[in-house]
Symmetry: C2
Subunit: 191 residues, 2 copies
């Protein structure tokens, strides 16, 4: 992602997505990943066109090139990724403290495939990953884990990202909503 | 929360919870808040006993005193909070960059009520809050926003929290799952 200096590109691999149970959680994950500088998300599990549409709608309105793709053979994908010299990091509460490894990940400069799953991640993910890292050893949320990981990886620079070709941008406001429509740069809503 | 030095106590106020649509997202929010050092969560919207049970089950197994409460008159609650001299921070993509205010929030040392909502937050929240702060001006996730806010507020110290009276604790592992049952300190599962 341009605007982040020269840190590694991050792609998310979300394992075990189920349409009914996970739609909103996976949508939040994709949007957080996009907002915080990741390049895209691969989703394994149910093919969920409604999820894809939700995320693409956000990209159309808010800009950038975030990618969302559904994958089936995720283990093969990890192998291809590793053969290309890229890193594979699995975020799991059972892993090593991520804060001790984040500088190493940043220094590598290879692309990072960041694997997250739901409750039951297949053991192959633990074996195939270069690093199994924990954002606390407590049960919480893959959305939280990915967000903190990206914020630390990019050292806050991701908060200043500007996305290409947005229809809308927010004008930061102390009290209310100020939304600018980029085509004409007019205020569309103020409250 | 003990173990965090002397920073402000944080409580989350989640507005507009709906049972069917939000159960998993609000569960993730509560668990992330707990794992990252918040004291508890107030939930306004549908009374959701299943959500309460899910969160309490985690607390029983993983320890600590995290509170989950349902509230109805949230505006009155905010007023009482402010009258007591505590801070009210509303996290919204329309707000001012949180990273410029986080040191101020930390210095205040008063308790912080951290308001988050779904898509449509009533305008009263913007008016009643002492600060409307954005974790990026992009649409993403209240789980992500709260997580990054807490990580920055507590400056990473929250990653080393130890919760009181857990049944289980994770032993960090480079490759697999090592779970210790605290009563007898025996390994229950290794993979």
């Amino acid at each position: 992602m341009k605007g982040l200096g020269n840190p590694p590109e991050v792609w998310i691999l979300r394992l075990g997505h189920r349409i009914f149970r996970d739609k909103r959680v996976t949508t939040h994950l994709a949007l957080a990943a996009r907002a915080l500088g990741a390049e895209g998300i691969f989703i394994q599990g149910d093919l969920d066109e409604s999820l894809r549409r939700s995320v693409q709608k956000i990209i159309e309105n808010w800009g950038g090139d975030f990618k969302i793709e559904f994958v089936t053979d995720w283990q093969d994908m990890i192998r291809v990724w590793k053969e290309a010299g890229d890193s594979v990091v699995h975020l799991t509460m059972y892993g090593l403290p991520f804060e001790k490894y984040i500088d190493e990940v940043r220094r590598n400069r290879s692309r990072v495939l960041l694997i997250v799953g739901g409750k039951k991640v297949p053991w192959e993910a633990y074996v195939l990953a270069d690093l199994n890292l924990a954002v606390t050893g407590q049960p919480h949320s893959e959305i939280s884990a990915v967000s903190i990981f990206l914020d630390r990886l990019y050292q806050g620079k991701e908060l200043e990202l500007r996305f290409k070709r947005p229809k809308f941008v927010v004008s930061p406001s102390p009290r209310g909503k100020v939304l600018l429509r980029r085509a004409r740069d007019e205020k569309t809503e103020t409250k």
